[in-house]
């Protein structure tokens, strides 16, 4: 098959995407496919027209590639593509929408409030902050609604930190999320579709080195965080995390594969869904390939299955 690997683009996760793309290209070549790498830009439609791929492997992360934009375009030009469709992508990309969906489906997610820039500028939402702070309790986590990496995520320890954290989050998006901080363990469950429906892969735990605990940027970086897979959990906790991940995957309408991030609260043992990534990283240090390998699926095996799924599910 001729496979176009879409990567790069101009999102803030361009670098990670280039690394995911390169590794995917490598695997596709070893699988015997004809590979055409495309660094997506204004010429994407023309390039697709020239290349006429049998399938597009979307290895884009962040805005543009993971939010449904590229998927919509691929639907339009009639090229089958990997992973979720436009609506699931846009739901996953916007943490606020995703959390509303999850909560609506009765799934646990940390309490939160979301505001648009307009709410502050036109509706005086700033006046509501004290009430919100009362309800969420400090520390509060402030996040941009749509940003895949750790950029722009801040801890507000006191009320004085909140305005600055909100301004920072608005650097990334016109919507911000203020979320109750759940202290506990960071878990990630990848979901991979297959002949018998979506399956949850072994749970990965990210354990930041002590000194980086409040440094979100360090949390998913090799050497600054240790990754354990399968995570050392009680069997019922593992089962529950996988069950929640599958429920989130279904609720958000994902297909192909996705990664669901959870927190296991210290003390209560409760699990909370944080977010779902419609196109998680596929680099050599990413969590989905790690979980797949723990399940006995090689990287090539993983890529082969993802491509097969894309071709099978494409409308004739």
């Amino acid at each position: 098959m001729r496979v176009a690997v879409l990567k790069g683009g101009r999102s803030l996760e361009r670098n990670v995407s280039l690394r995911s793309g390169a590794r995917v290209e490598d695997a596709l070549q070893r699988l015997g496919h004809e590979v055409v790498p495309i660094d997506v830009g204004p010429d994407l439609v023309d390039r697709l027209g020239d290349v006429r791929p049998d399938v597009a492997f979307v290895a884009l992360h962040g805005r543009g590639g993971e939010d449904g934009t590229v998927q919509e375009l691929l639907e339009l030009v009639g090229v089958p593509y990997t992973a979720s469709g436009p609506s699931a992508c846009s739901r996953c990309m916007d943490k606020v929408v995703a959390k509303h969906e999850l909560r609506g489906a009765g799934l646990p997610t940390p309490d939160f409030y979301a505001f648009s820039q307009a709410a502050f500028e036109e509706l005086g939402a700033g006046r509501a902050l004290p009430a919100l702070e009362e309800r969420l309790d400090f520390p509060i986590v402030v996040k941009p609604a749509a940003q895949g990496s750790a950029l722009g995520i801040k801890f507000a320890r006191t009320a004085a930190d909140v305005p600055g954290a909100i301004v920072a989050a608005f650097s990334y998006d016109t919507k911000v999320l203020l979320e109750r901080y759940v202290e506990g363990r960071d878990l990630a469950v990848s979901v991979l579709d297959g002949p018998h429906g979506p399956e949850a892969l072994p749970v990965v735990e990210a354990i930041p080195h002590e000194e980086h605990f409040y440094d979100f940027e360090a949390r998913y970086e090799i050497g600054r965080t240790a990754f354990v897979c399968p995570a050392l959990l009680e069997p019922e906790t593992t089962a529950r995390a996988q069950e929640l991940a599958l429920a989130a995957y279904a609720t958000l309408g994902c297909s192909g594969f996705a990664r669901v991030d959870l927190l296991l609260e210290q003390g209560t043992g409760e699990l909370y869904l944080l977010e779902a990534n419609a196109i998680p990283g596929l680099t050599d240090t990413s969590l989905l390939p790690l979980a797949a390998e723990a399940a006995g699926i090689s990287f090539e095996g993983l890529i082969a299955r993802i491509v097969e799924l894309a071709v099978e599910t494409a409308p004739a």
């Binding site: 990670v16 502050f120 305005p163 920072a168 090799i222 600054r224 723990a294 006995g296």
Partner: protein, 441 residues
Amino acid sequence: MGHDDTPKRSGARDLERYAGLFARRTQAMKSSAMRDLMAVTARPEIISLAGGLPDTSTFPAEDFAALMARVAVDASAKALQYGPTEGLDDVKRCIAQVMAAEEMDVEPEDLLVTTGGQQVIDLVCKTLIDPGDVVVAEAPTYPGAVPVFVSYQADVVQIEMDEHGMRTDVLRAELERLDREGRVPKFIYTVPSFQNPAGVTMALERRRELVRIAHERELIVLEDNPYGLLRYEGSPLPTLYRLDGGEFVIYLGTFSKILSPGLRLGWAAAPRPVLDKLNLGKGGADLCSSTLSQQFVVTYFAERDWRTYLRSLVDLYRRRRDVMLAALADHFPPEASWTRPGGGLFIWARLPEFIDTTDLLARALRDNVAFVPGRAAYLDGRGGSEMRLNFSGVSDDDIREGVRRIGKVVREQVGLYSTLTGVKPETAAAQNVVELRRKAG
């Protein structure tokens, strides 16, 4: 999972295996999020004030072609061959000319030709620093030195600056504090003229005092002077190397800013025993710097007047600096302040404390403009509300437009913060760089 026939390998163990192989010094290296952000700044549609680039487009292409042809004809075999680790004697004579232009007198034996000035920083650390050793630097310091200090696991003490450069009174106090802790710094790193990133120049009395401190304490000073000849106004100040007489100062020079960074040629002038060690370190690093580049420099100095080209750069950069200063006055809000450099390539701006310039960069990139977030110039997390702006490698129009776009997003955040707090933000107190000048004029 139905894949039980495949031998199970722990992916986690694989990752951990590599993690276990990385040297401890790699753990402190800069976060990938910041690197990822900077990667986007290189896209063509972005006006980047983040670079530190000289404008190489002004070097006449026909001169380049003629000189390279001359190298090929006259010195083909030599240019394609390895050379001595310390560099070609002919290049050292060119270096002596450049240093003489700043009234320094050196012998070829005092010089080591390096792969860019950057290699000097690396070699000095390699030669002097054991893990945990103290290096003293300015606050803020050259962002490119930060990963070098970090990779040698130096403990960096950053000394605040004012408009006269590094505060030598603060330096004395810090050295005394270190004495009390039983720690002796190995060297003091400084960019005394038109500092990168702050754009300030160390006053003559401070220079004398710094050299005095070095002599009293028998302490090395690494004087990084890429910009000394890029002076747009005022009269030149003596280098630390000249004031010191080559006893405790290691001087770092480069062809990058007066000719071309693509050549990757710099040099160190140092006391002989130190130079010998640096030379050994360089042998291990790369045997020798590009002989082809060295031959090019020799030919260039023989066939052209390097000062004429330098004068053209000075005129060009002076104009661009003025364009940037005017644009800052037009577009930045009154809460911001910035330096007015008398030379070099950079202006350093300070915004209100509630603005995080790393996040601001993400916002600015959406408007296709980039700068260097201040944190890149500190090792201790300071600088969060500061930024470095480059004017040398960008056209006048792009400077105006770039500053306008940054000004717009800064104003937007200032406005948003006021909305959130209901108060007009105070101007951040200058803590590290005192007396950054408010607005030009």
